[in-house]
Symmetry: C2
Subunit: 114 residues, 2 copies
DNA sequence: TGCAAATATAAGCATATACTTATATAGTGA
DNA sequence: TCACTATATAAGTATATGCTTATATTTGCA
């Protein structure tokens, strides 16, 4: 249980980031998946700069990690973050977002890089 | 588990409210306690209108309930709210705030109305 | 080597947010 | 009924936030 506690300031940083529909959806999509920017753009129907700016905030706070693979930069949850347990707890209360990724896959727009 | 799920919009509403240090502390103080406005003012060292405005937002979203007892209006967590389970999950990751109430009690400023 | 795709960054702007101060309202007790 | 206490509300303001458009950077490939 120790490992899951953070101080109030750190918690508010995380919660403020999660308290935005776009970012919460992004984090939901990253639950068990890696995604690149253009996938978020497609799923969320938002401009690329808007998505990149959200991802930057998430990365600055340590919630996500990025990894370049060729043309694409893939994002994933940072499981080593002090606030990762808090993030997981929050995700347990919202609907799974994986259908959106499956829809992407069906439309042939999902990016695979392995 | 069904009972603890909310849609993304509702979750962001709750998380946005919790993503503020003052409000998260208020919610933390209300975990297992009832408090009146003047106690929050004392503990958080903020102006009464500022506290009242935060409480109004929390009440408007259904996170807390108010009950007048004589001079004072006591606030408590709304355990019937759809987002109560989410709130509880979040609180499990932050330090207990009850020492602050105990300190109030020691200084004779805790309000009891029973 | 040069171009196209994916992404990041910068600047500008409209709206949201969290205070402040001033004032209104409600309950209690003399 | 009046005055005091606790709280709410309103209006104003400074700062934060989330977009937009324009531009820079990085990589793979012809």
């Amino acid at each position: 249980m120790e490992r899951t506690m953070v101080d109030i300031e750190r918690a508010t940083t995380a919660l403020k980031l999660l308290g935005d529909k776009t970012r919460l959806t992004i984090i939901g999509l990253l639950r068990g998946n890696e995604c690149c920017v253009c996938e978020f753009v497609e799923i969320l129907q938002m401009s690329q700069p808007a998505i990149s700016q959200h991802l930057r905030k998430l990365r600055d706070a340590g919630l996500v990690q990025e990894e370049r693979k060729g043309h694409w930069i893939f994002y994933k949850l940072n499981e080593n973050s002090d606030i990762f347990p808090l993030v997981v707890s929050v995700l347990e209360h919202i609907p799974d977002q994986k259908e959106k990724l499956e829809a992407l896959e069906k439309s042939g727009k999902r990016i695979k890089c392995d």
